[in-house]
């Protein structure tokens, strides 16, 4: 049997999406715990770092995925040619509201941002970053509720929604500037 480190590396190389340490340990063999997997992933990342490899194993969407180092972005973009269009400030704000307040109504998004959100919601749905998760049954017209998708986590390299600082924390981190009296 090849070393656990090699197997885990191979599985991560082959996998199309992020794989959890539980799944990895189940695939390998009995007697290998998720903790063992975490241990070798850490070792692999150290080796990649020391040897200046092109990639690292990142924790995203509840699992692990091999991803290139950020310094390589300009070269990778030249190869790929079709980078996704940058999301506008308005779209990012709508996305942030959905991420923190989900499941959320369009009206709630608009109340927080003070502007119509129809266009940005449609764009985010198109990009598969948010989805219609359900409907508010107790309101007239059963308005739709929006939530973020797994692709949202993958796109912004988030392990889970809990990886985001809470909105209350953010409110405190950025205190309003004090009034300069004179």
């Amino acid at each position: 049997m090849p070393p656990l480190k090699t197997i885990v590396e191979g599985l991560l190389f082959v996998s199309d999406s992020a794989v959890s340490e539980e799944t990895l340990s189940q695939i390998v063999e009995e007697g290998v715990s998720p903790e063992d997997v975490l241990q070798v992933i850490e070792e692999l990342n150290e080796e990649y770092e020391i040897r200046n490899r092109a990639f690292a194993i990142k924790r995203v969407a509840g699992g692990f995925q091999l991803r290139t180092r950020e310094e390589l972005a300009p070269y990778c973009l030249r190869l790929k040619k079709n980078a996704p269009a940058k999301l506008s400030k308005a779209a990012m704000e709508t996305l942030a509201v959905v991420a923190y307040r989900q499941p959320v109504l369009r009206a709630e998004i608009e109340k927080i941002r003070g502007v119509d959100a129809g266009g940005t919601i449609r764009l985010l749905l198109d990009r598969n970053l948010i989805r219609i998760s359900s409907r508010r049954e107790n309101l007239p017209g059963r308005p739709m509720l929006y939530s973020t998708t797994g692709k949202f986590l993958e796109t912004f390299e988030l392990d889970s929604l809990n990886s985001l600082p809470t909105i209350e924390e953010i409110g405190r981190i950025t205190p309003p500037k004090r009034l300069k009296l004179f």
Binding site: E70, C76, A83, M92, A99, G114, T155, F156
Partner: protein
């Protein structure tokens, strides 16, 4: 010259909504959000609105609502508070403004934080392309190569809208016809079509209809066939393409295609 240039840039800034504009003014004046100098901010706010109107840009009604709110708060601050119990502190009229501003400000920061994270396919990349999945289909009907994305009803609705929009763009035809096609006939037609081609793009169905009514019937027939398991719908991961793909699903269904009657 440099200063004039800056001024121009500043003025060309377009604020999407009143809260964004107000926050900008508060930051620019370096004032405390909890102690907003209402007169100053209101004056600058109105100045911006006048400027936007002067260059003939449409102004969202929300901006005017906020202008009214500002004026209201300003007048409240000038007037003595209503009769209060002894020792009771009057509520600062600016609070109704501060709360939404603080909340919006927090979300602005949250959005910036998320934007700064390494973004997939922009800053970081994974091996190969998009995730693929094997299709849950009979073996003799597996496509040679197909990238399939997780999909939702939303995409199906979008595909329908695209189809309908294309149709409308090709020219609305007003036809009076005594022919009445039933959904049952459509079911048979689509079955026959799919049996011959095995898999088709949603858009290919456009060839099977004569008018919008039939297009709608087609759509319903596709949903019905998917429900009964005769065909399956998949979305190519390349979303911009031609909408969902229809696949023949159940070999048994091919044997007895005429069983259902929807008249």
């Amino acid at each position: 010259m440099n200063a004039a240039h800056e001024d121009l840039n500043l003025k060309l800034e377009i604020y999407e909504g009143p809260l964004e504009l107000l926050l900008h003014l508060i930051k620019r004046n370096e004032v405390d959000i909890h102690d907003i100098p209402v007169s100053l901010i209101t004056a600058q706010y109105l100045e911006y609105i006048e400027y936007i109107e002067s260059i003939n840009l449409d102004l969202a009604g929300d901006f005017l609502v906020m202008a009214a709110t500002l004026a209201h708060i300003k007048s409240k601050m000038l007037l003595p508070a209503d009769s209060l119990e002894a020792g009771e502190q009057p509520e600062d009229p600016r609070l109704e403004l501060v709360r939404p501003l603080l909340e919006y400000s927090a979300f602005q920061t949250a959005a910036e934080n998320v934007s700064m994270r390494p973004q997939l396919n922009r800053d970081v990349f994974v091996r190969g392309g998009v995730g693929s999945e094997t299709l849950d289909l009979p073996e003799d009907n597996q496509p040679e190569s197909l990238m399939v994305a997780k999909s939702s009803v939303y995409e199906l609705v979008k595909a329908w809208q695209d189809l309908y929009a294309r149709r409308t763009a090709e020219g609305l035809s007003l036809k009076f016809s005594m022919e009445t096609v039933t959904i049952g006939e459509k079911l048979v037609q689509i079955r026959a079509f799919l049996l011959s081609v095995k898999s088709a793009h949603f858009r290919d169905l456009a060839g099977l209809d004569k008018n919008n009514y039939e297009l709608a019937l087609n759509f319903l027939a596709v949903l019905e066939l998917a429900r009964t398991g005769f065909l399956r719908l998949y979305q190519d991961s390349d979303v911009d393409q031609s909408g969902p793909r229809l696949f023949l699903a159940d070999p048994a269904a091919r044997e007895a295609p005429e069983k259902l009657d929807y008249r």
